[in-house]
Structure formats: structure tokens, C-alpha cells
Amino acid sequence: MRPRVSFGIRVIVLLIVLFAAAALLAPWISPHDPLRQSLLLRLKPPGSATASAGLFPLGTDDLGRDLLSRILYGARASFIVAILSVSVSLVVGTLLGLAAGWFRGWTATLIMRFVDAMLSVPAILLAVLTVAVIGPSFVTLVLVLGLTRWPRYTRVAYAATLQVAGLPFIAAAEMAGADSARILLRHILPNIAGPLLVVATSEFGLMILFEAGLSFLGLGIQPPAPSWGSIMSAGRQYVERAWWLTVFPGLGLFTLVVCVNVMGDWLRDRLDPRSAGR
């Protein structure tokens, strides 16, 4: 955990890059069309090959689709949902936090009380509820995840803004006639970016887990579009006969989340030494 780029961190970064590349390049590196079914090739074990269809390195699912291709495309879904929902909550949370920290008074009370209320409902429960009721779709998923997870950013941004706003150079900028928006964006935001980045990284891992979890419950990415969660959910029915359907996507998910978490710890140690290791 020492703040220098150790061998372990290099491996982690490499793995994350590999995952991202797999997600990005899925259409080109997948051996099969992830949606192409073949009812005659259902539930074939890893390594199965047929003369006509070729090799299925990780086997096939319950509709005879290639599991490896579906996992590669599933990485895509994980990344896109996580990136978008983290962006949504980062933007919403930061803006609210900045506003609360800058204007203080009633604005701050209002915003921070709402943050308290949001934090007093377990986010996953709220997400499950909302998605189940609105009906699952990609947009719903991103919005619900994004809009249930912003309070953590608000808290961090609020505390950091309060701290930075008290520093002399801000007063100087104010006296020089800069308006609030300019000060917030040009002077304060860059100074609170570090802690926000730390939160965003740890949230990134959580979002990947949430997406998979909701898809597992049938509330996330909808079949036939591949997502790690929905592949596992379908695979659960066949857990005794087709273990590969749950083991491989889960392994991908687990590895990616481990990498993101390690990365998050490392970033935190570098950028936010006060809370080292937390």
C-alpha cells in the first residue's frame, strides 16, 4: 500500500486495461455472435467444438449461444453502465456539494438534510424498488444507480469546499471580482477533485456490482443483451449441469471488482493520506 507504483499495482492496472479492451473490442475479438442461438447446441461444456459452428472455448448457454462472446459483450455492459452512472452521481453530487459548501446557510441545511435522508435508505433497496416499478431498461438502470448514489459525493464535496473556501487565495479571487461560478469551477473544483476521485473509484466498483446484482434479479440489462448478472441469473437454473454459466461470468466480475478496489485503495493512499487504508 506504499504510495509508489509497485509491481502489484502495475499488474492491477494491466488487468483493468485488459478488461476495458475486451469491452471495447468485443465485436472484433468475440469468436461468435453473442446473440446467435443454436437450439441443438444447448449447454455444451467449455471446449466443445462442432464442425459447423466452430469452437466454444467456455461452452454455450441454455439457448446454445457462445458463452465467451457473451461474457466479452457483458464486460461492455458493465463498463458502460458503471461509467455512466458514476458520471451521473458524480456530477449531481458534486454540484450539490459545491452549492452547499459555497452558499452555506439555508441552502446547505436543505441539501445536507436531504443527503441524510437519502443515506438513511439502503441504496440497493431503493434501486431495486424503483427499477422493478418503472420497468427495467438501460436508461432506467443508469439513472436509478446514478440518482441513488450521489449523496456520498455531496458529503465529500461539501466538506472539501468548506475547507478550501476558507483559504486566502479564494478571498483574493473574490476581491479580484471573480463571480461565484467562476471561483467554484476554476479555483475550488480543482482543489477538491482528489477526494472526489477517490470516492468515484470506490463507487465504480460498487456500480459494477450493483449492475450485475440488478441484472441478476432480472432488473438490469435485459436479455437477450448479454450482461454478467443476467447470464448468471439464467445459469442459476442449470447450476448442477452447466456450472460454467455461473462460474465464468462471476469470475470476470469478481476479478474486475478486485482490481478496481485495489486501485481505489491505492488512489486513496496517494490522494487522501488522512484516510489511508480506509
Binding site: 438534510r113 436531504f114 441524510d116 435522508a117 438513511s120 435508505v121 439502503p122 441504496a123 440497493i124 433497496l125 431503493l126 431495486v128 424498488l129 424503483t130 422493478a132 416499478v133 418503472i134 420497468g135 466498483g205 456490482l209 450485475a212 446484482g213 441478476f216 434479479l217 448478472g229 448468471m232 441469473s233 442459476r236 447450476v239 448442477e240 456450472w243 455461473t246 462460474v247 462471476g250 466480475l253 469478481f254 471488482v257 478486485v258 478496489n261 485495489v262 489511508a276 487504508g277 480506509r278
Partner: protein, 306 residues
């Protein structure tokens, strides 16, 4: 102190009210459960008649005020699907979730805290490396995946434990471990930091200078001081355990309120869902409050101020 508690209680009340309101309206975003209740051949008139009888043709504001009015009389209402008092339905499932949450908490505490202590005391060694790998795993394992793997390994292959359901104490083991893994990781990390911080303090050296062994110093002095930040996370984790129960209870077919919540959400059994969310949020809020009060139990400095 009393004023502080009063203020916190007021905050809690506002938060609860917001939660109730959000959930009430979210649940009604996609319409009412009438369509789910009628037989397939029902005509439009028959559907309208049942909707009227159930009161779902009233304006939302009227339904909302009615619900608040009932709540004010501590009336959670009657389940549309089960036609029984909501409190009875929730209360009959609650013991299962409590058993599961307690099992998970016990698992997380008895593994996480010693692991955290060990990582701090034997820092830099093989022990720490092994344990931090374990902690990282606990933190990164999706419960629905580890749940299935456990079922596959201990239930299907080894036949050690029942695969799912609530069938004897053995069936509590797997869901508790799976649900508790994340909390275990959190406790271990928190304990490690906290103990490390305390180990560096003079009073530890002073205690050892008086002839105490390292172990005795840790047990007699370090743990209690390190406990304060850990207590906070323990309380918060209990709330997260209740929320996490939604997925774990689904995977293990555990008949607690998490499973009930999922069933009721899909059946649009509004009042049951609202009652569960209300309950979980209140537990969450109460735990937060309890944490603050727990500080004073541990720390005489705060007790002095009370």
C-alpha cells in the same frame, strides 16, 4: 446531550417521512395491482369494478393522505394480495431476517475483528498478506455469485449443508457467511486501521514498560480504544445487512423480509413494500442514533459530558 438527541430524533423523523413519501409515489409510478389480481378472462368492466372496490381509482393525493392518516394511527393496512394485516405478514417473516442478519453479523464480527487485529499486530508478515487477500475477496465478492458457488460446493457436491431454504440450523450457515462477507471485510479493514493507530500510541509502550505483554496490552488497552470507530461501522453494517438480505434471501430462498420485499414488489403489494422499506429505514436511522449513544458507553470522556 439531551438537546443533541432531540435534534437527531427530529432529523430521523424527517428522513423517515421523506422515505415514506418517496416509496409511496415510486410504487405507484407504473399503476396499481388490479391487473395482476384478476383472472385472465376478466373484462374491462370487471377490472374497473375491482379497481374501484380497492380504492385505486381515487386521486393519488387522496390515497397518500389516507395512507399517512393510517400510519398516524399505527395502522400499516392490509395486504392486497394476502388479505391479512401487513404487520402480521411482516412480523411473521421478520424473525428469519433477524436470524440471518444476526448470523451474518456474528460471522462478520468473529472473523473480521480478529482478522483486523491480527493484520495490525503482525503487520508486514505473511499473516497480513493472507488476511488482506481474504478481506479483499470479502469486499469484492458479489453475494449472488458466492452464494451460488457455495451452494454448488457445499450443497450439491459435498452435501454438507442444505442447498437453500430454512430447514434446520445448518441452513443458516451458508447465507450468513455469504451475507456477512462484505461486513467482515469492512470490520477487518476498520479494525486494522484503528488498532494500528492505537498501537503507535504512547500508552501501549507505557503499558509494556510496566511489564504487560503485547497481547495483554492489546487486550487491556488497545482494543477498547480501537473499538470506537469500529462501533460506527458495525451499526451501519447492520443496516447494510438488512438491505443485502434482499439478494441473499433470493439466492438461498430464505423466507425473510428481503424475499417478501421482492415478492411484494413484483406483485405490487404496495402496503407490504412500504412497510418493509419503512422498517428497514427506521432500523437504519435508529442504528445511526444508537451508534452515537454507544460512543458514550465506551468513552468516559463523552459520558462525562452527558
Amino acid at each position: 446531550m439531551r438537546r443533541y438527541i432531540a435534534r437527531r430524533l427530529l432529523q430521523a423523523a424527517i428522513a423517515t417521512f421523506l422515505v415514506i413519501t418517496i416509496v409511496f409515489f415510486v410504487m405507484r409510478l407504473s399503476g396499481d395491482p388490479t391487473l395482476l389480481l384478476v383472472p385472465e378472462g376478466a373484462t374491462a368492466e370487471q377490472i374497473a369494478a375491482l379497481r374501484h372496490a380497492l380504492g385505486f381509482d381515487r386521486p393519488l393525493a387522496v390515497q397518500y393522505l389516507g395512507y399517512l392518516g393510517d400510519l398516524a394511527h399505527f395502522d400499516l393496512g392490509q395486504s392486497l394480495v394476502q388479505r391479512a394485516p401487513v404487520w402480521l405478514i411482516v412480523a411473521s417473516r421478520l424473525p428469519y431476517t433477524m436470524a440471518l442478519a444476526a448470523g451474518a453479523l456474528v460471522f462478520a464480527l468473529v472473523t473480521g475483528i480478529p482478522a483486523g487485529i491480527a493484520m495490525a499486530v503482525w503487520r508486514g508478515g505473511v499473516t497480513e498478506r493472507l488476511l488482506s487477500a481474504l478481506v479483499l475477496a470479502g469486499q469484492s465478492l458479489p453475494t449472488f455469485w458466492s452464494g451460488i458457488l457455495f451452494i454448488l460446493l457445499f450443497g450439491v457436491s459435498l452435501h454438507w449443508l442444505p442447498t437453500s431454504g430454512a430447514d434446520g440450523p445448518a441452513s443458516l450457515v451458508m447465507p450468513s457467511v455469504v451475507l456477512g462477507a462484505l461486513a467482515m471485510a469492512t470490520f477487518a479493514r476498520m479494525t486494522r486501521i484503528s488498532v494500528l493507530e492505537e498501537l503507535g500510541r504512547d500508552y501501549v509502550t507505557a503499558a509494556r514498560a510496566r511489564g504487560l505483554s503485547m497481547g495483554a496490552a492489546v487486550v487491556r488497552h488497545v482494543l477498547r480504544n480501537a473499538a470506537i470507530p469500529v462501533v460506527t461501522v458495525v451499526a451501519l453494517e447492520v443496516g447494510n445487512l438488512l438491505a443485502g438480505a434482499v439478494i441473499v434471501e433470493t439466492v438461498f430462498a430464505w423466507p425473510g423480509i428481503g424475499q417478501l420485499a421482492m415478492q411484494s414488489i413484483f406483485a405490487r403489494d404496495f402496503l407490504v413494500v412500504q412497510a418493509i422499506v419503512l422498517f428497514v429505514s427506521m432500523v437504519y436511522i435508529a442504528l445511526n442514533l444508537a451508534t452515537d449513544l454507544a460512543y458514550s458507553a465506551i468513552d468516559p470522556r463523552i459520558r462525562g459530558m452527558a
